[in-house]
Amino acid sequence: MRQSLRAAWAIYRKDLRVELRTRETVGSVLVFAVVTAFIFNFAFDPSPQVLGLVAPGIVWVAYVFTGMLGLNRTFQLERDRGTLELLLLAPAGREAIYWGKLGGALTVMLVVEALMAPVFLFLYDLSLFSPLLAATAVLATVGFGAVGTLFAAIAVHTRSREVLLPVLFLPLAMPVIVGAVGATTALLGGGGLAQVNPWFQLMAAFDLATLMVCSWAFEHVLEE
């Protein structure tokens, strides 16, 4: 158990260091997020009244798409450099790889989401700065990461990984997307903890269930 935790921590630190040195993932994903947010302006032409209806959708579609882009990269670097095999040789359980990779993906996704908040303020005059919205983002992102890390490990080995990851990820992540949009709608509409409670419960249940199942199933994905 402790050994496993230490291995997961080491993998997490390695991924973080690679990211800090290259800044490749955060940089490219952030640009993609800004472009997505910008395109919505022409899809909806959001006047202040329309914005009230479509703002949660804009925010979460942008976050989900950028999240998938980031998830795709978590195993891509390892595969391109052939280091995934070395990681499998390490004297640690497969679960440690899952938790380490999940930590790395979550960090990147949360950093990008935080950096996007001022962009939404700038482009749409949409203020996302509130503790409950931050909690929504964390709950939703953990759910994305739990499912996404598992399927990214599958998709990276296939011929059509750009297609396969969304096809597997989007339907399965539906409860947490619904929860995030629901909570954001309630919060932007002036609701408090009482209004977001059912959505938080939904997302928390999803996070717990998928973390348990996916960490167990991960072992069967990487087995050689």
């Binding site: 296939t158 396969l164 409860p175 619904v178 629901g182 959505w199 269930a209 996916c214 069967h220 994905v221």
Partner: protein, 225 residues
């Protein structure tokens, strides 16, 4: 196994014939919805067989991951393929029924949303197998998708329900007031369900036999070169 397969085919054929007579000639026409309601006797059994198939996929996948015996994978794969066919037909018949009765092809209520997402998940299940670099990996990955999908289904239902109840203006909903069915109708429905379960079992055994033949052929080919 083989005798079961041979016996099931004529049984399924006779039952389908009787079922069609019951649905289109024997059972009285429903008074409110009219003739279109007869699609109900096909739609409900199709949907139920579809769900049964997907439970089989999840169960067989879990056993496969634990035991690593390819027999369980064959069962999961065959059930997945037949299940996708049943579910596709259930969605199509449902839309054909909904249009004259509700005025729209589709509504986003909890049942329909869950059915649709389940269908997409299992299409993904078949895609993973097709795109996997080796058959062995395809089996393991598909099993993982099947299991995670099954665990996710209750949450998807709850999410769709929450979504609907908190957006009440969107509700058109299925005929919620389920008045007790007339006995002839109940009998027809029951018989039709049985028919579809027999049909499903027969298709499943045929698909299993074909799968075995495919794998035997692949093994022979691999031995040649």
């Amino acid at each position: 196994m083989r005798t079961a397969r041979i016996a099931l085919m004529p049984l399924a054929a006779v039952m389908v014939a009787v079922d069609l007579v019951l649905i289109f000639a024997w059972v009285p026409t429903e008074q409110v919805m009219g003739i279109v309601q007869r699609i109900f006797y096909l739609h409900v059994p199709l949907a139920i067989t579809g769900f049964v198939a997907f439970f089989l996929v999840a169960g067989a996948s879990a056993v496969y991951l634990i035991r690593k015996n390819p027999r369980w994978d064959r069962l999961a794969f065959s059930a997945g393929e037949v299940g996708v066919v049943m579910m596709t037909l259930a969605i199509i018949t449902g839309a054909l029924w909904a249009k004259p009765v509700w005025g729209v092809w589709w509504v986003w209520d909890a049942q329909l949303t869950t059915t649709f997402i389940l269908w997409v998940i299992y299409v993904g299940y078949l895609m993973v197998r097709a795109y996997a670099p080796t058959n062995e990996r395809g089996r393991r990955w598909a099993a993982v998708v099947g299991i995670v999908g099954a665990v996710d289904i209750p949450l998807i239902y709850v999410a769709a329900e929450l979504w609907r109840t908190l957006h009440p203006d969107k509700v058109i909903g299925p005929a919620a007031d389920e008045s007790s069915l007339e006995s002839a109708m109940a009998l027809t429905l029951l018989f039709s369900m049985l028919t579809f379960l027999v049909l499903f079992t027969w298709l499943l055994t045929e698909r299993l036999a074909l799968r075995r033949a495919e794998e035997a052929l692949a093994a022979l080919r691999a031995g040649e070169c």
